[in-house]
Symmetry: C2
Subunit: 117 residues, 2 copies
DNA sequence: GGATAATGATACGGCCCCGTAACGATCGGG
DNA sequence: CCCGATCGTTACGGGGCCGTATCATTATCC
């Protein structure tokens, strides 16, 4: 059962949510950071730097830096993989889960506000 | 007739579209730039720096700089208001309209791909 | 064990964005 | 007129992200 949505509704939805994101005090995450964060919270673990880089089609330093900054915000954590100590496993946090949930509420609420066409 | 959407669908939609935005070669716009761009293309003209700043709740230099960079990308244009030469009227462009349309298609297509719950 | 490969982090130079403050241009009221 | 208010822009100092190249650490394979 796919979501039936018209282009004009899609645009208004994207507009409203982006306005909400600008308005709320939280620091704006970049498009890449959002893509990484949601991949971590929606795709099945485990998540590695290499894997995220491949999924997003960007270089590894992009992931490392994004994890650094989102780590400072408490949205994710890193842990060495004890089975293969070259790997780093990215883990979810309570704060990160809350941030994702807030985003879901934002999108859902704005979607419900959209009128026809 | 509001859009019926579940939080998990909303999150997957936001995730997919952000992944698309990262993947496509176009330079990533910031959240603020997207909010400005869509305000210009969805809200009724005329649009001024001051008005956009108020709508987004940010300072005027933020708008000026965003218009500079989006202007370089050909997404918007500026023109002096001849009635009150202090004002600047922001105008739409063909390239900007195409970019907005592409975004609408992206969101619409990804929405249709979302399964239940 | 030693060479090779793979993983994630770091260094570097460059560019863009931020907020505050100040600025020039323009309008409007007295 | 002239003074104050308004508009958009610019200057400044600071911080973040980018891609490339390089690095240390760890695993693998012969």
């Amino acid at each position: 059962m796919a979501l039936e949505i018209k282009p004009s509704q899609a645009l208004r939805l994207w507009h409203q949510v982006n306005l909400d994101l600008v308005h709320d005090a939280q620091p704006d995450l970049s498009v890449r950071q959002v893509a990484i964060l949601l991949t971590i919270y929606l795709d099945l673990p485990p998540h590695t730097v290499r894997g995220l880089a491949a999924r997003l089609g960007v270089t590894k330093p992009v992931i490392t830096r994004a994890l650094d900054s989102m780590g400072k915000l408490g949205l994710v954590t890193r842990r060495r993989d004890e089975n293969d100590r070259r790997n780093v496993v990215i883990q979810r946090t309570v704060a990160g889960a809350l941030a994702v949930e807030r985003l879901a509420d934002m999108v859902t609420r704005r979607a419900r506000e959209q009128g026809p066409g």
